[in-house]
Subunit: 311 residues, 2 copies
């Protein structure tokens, strides 16, 4: 393969109670990336939008991933990566994860696929480490695997694709303010009470069971985060109102996407998700915070190939 | 129905990482209980063994459950409960849970089943409160429902029967020393680090997923408890040696049953579970601690009716 164009999906990590271990991929939001073999060795990055992002490979989220893969395989060619971001950096919708996961996927294809999916997650985590200082996997794993993806453990990495109910859909609202992942991490309390942890892992077990059993009521009963959401939601304008409006409109649950500021809600079907998005939109329409919204199915396949040229 | 004889199974609660939320029922260990309508109103308890246990209904684990149910329904008859315990009190194998769950099940039958299963769990929790001071549900729920049973939440009570892989089997060793549930609770640390809680709920999610997916490797990778087991295992002679022997013999995982002192191990099939039991037996054979062992399938049905007399 000489050239490849892909769609690399946005992802929601920190799914309510399942902080740091569970994420899912979004069907209708993501980046487009093109990978092309070049005679000149090395990695070259071209930003088709967001031109303020660094293009030196060692400072670029996709670049560090590509560099590590090429370093390992030493191919006889170079790689040009063109990036057209559809997810705004700092949105909490897995923007760096889409670049990092996309780079891992695309470079692997040009190298004739020497690496398995879990290895690609590991390479992609280098991009996350550059972006946020923490090599987390809960965006890049669903980005590459699709659907709901459990990261049982980061060291050693253990990624488990879960069952994703067919009709489950998502609403997203992205307030156009910036919350840095680093800052969102720093405001978290370092410890918690055992009794609160037990409530949280009861909900984690309920949420995972609800996905396997396609029990939407159970998913709804389990989507409570008593530990991270109460703290991080302070950084998001009108969070409580957004959440209440989403639940009133029929959402199963609503919480912070990643480390924010985006807020997501899950619904039992796409029509309800549309109404939930509209309810959240109305809350923000009365503020002076600019925002964008999405209504989407869950992406079950991960990264999608748009075009490949083999000659 | 005038008379009913049942087998009320032993249960393993606190399944490794899933402290306070997950239990399962054991096929081959349990109590036998007989329930008989009497002309004289009120509850009467007869202990066929363990005659040192109190038989005044308000001081007896089965008695308080029966009293609460009769109080609610005011039947025109009394109930005699004969108990023959097969599970030693203080074993950590759900002895009080078997009495309490059994009483809820049996009395409900004599009352013509006015209560649903989750209501029975709620009544049975009164027995647990009497026995240990805490109205926990993670023994009585699997005792009544069978299989692996999640207690997502205690207040409000939310009980979810999970999928139980067919061949999964259990080994148990019960050191004949007493560990009071109250004491086992008191030695626990009241708080923990968020990073350790995240590791724990990653494993909880992995264990639950492993049950649904029948993925024994995943169950094995997930059976790690970094929070409760390191503290409570100090109360159990030779715990580390037992666990190592169980894993060396092929167990998927090994941890404390309930609040101890019993230790359980899960294996992929009954033959392996037999070898695991034998490996644990050898460790204790070299000590002067008396003990008993069990090898069993997972009980998937909960309480079993042995005999009923309707005339």
């Amino acid at each position: 393969m000489n050239e490849l164009k892909i769609f690399s999906p946005a992802t929601v990590a920190n799914v309510s109670c399942a902080f740091d271990i569970l994420g899912f991929a979004v069907e209708k939001a993501g980046d487009r990336m093109t990978f092309r073999k070049t005679a000149e060795k090395g990695i070259r990055i071209v930003m088709k939008n967001y031109r303020e992002l660094p293009t030196e490979p060692e400072k670029n989220v996709a670049g560090v991933v590509a560099l590590a893969m090429v370093e390992k395989r030493q191919p006889g060619f170079g790689i040009l990566i063109e990036m057209e971001k559809g997810i705004l950096p700092g949105s909490g919708m897995g923007s760096s994860g889409a670049s990092a996961g996309g780079a891992a996927f695309g470079v692997n294809k040009l190298l004739d696929e020497p690496f398995g999916k879990t290895e690609l997650v590991q390479f992609a985590m280098l991009g996350e480490a550059l972006a946020s200082g923490v090599a987390h996997a809960d965006n890049v794993a669903p980005n590459l695997f699709g659907g709901f993806t459990l990261v049982r453990s980061t060291r050693p990495l253990d990624v488990i694709p879960l069952h994703t109910p067919e009709r489950l859909s998502v609403s997203l609202i992205h307030p156009l303010i910036e919350v840095k992942t680093k800052n969102a991490r720093n405001i978290l309390k370092k410890s918690l009470l055992l009794k609160d942890a037990v409530i949280q892992w009861g909900n984690v077990a309920g949420l995972v069971s609800g996905l396997f059993m396609e029990d939407f009521d159970l998913i709804a009963r389990s989507m409570h985060d008593g530990i991270v959401e109460p703290v991080r939601s302070l950084l998001i304008p009108m969070f409580d109102e957004l959440k209440q409006a989403a639940l009133d409109a029929g959402a199963l649950g609503c919480s912070i996407s990643g480390s924010g500021p985006s807020v997501f809600a899950l619904s039992a079907d796409l029509a309800t998700a549309g109404e939930v998005t509209e309810a959240m939109r109305k809350i923000y329409a009365e503020t002076d915070v600019p925002f964008e919204t999405y209504t989407s199915g869950i992406n079950k396949k991960g990264i999608r190939i748009l075009n490949e040229i083999n000659d």
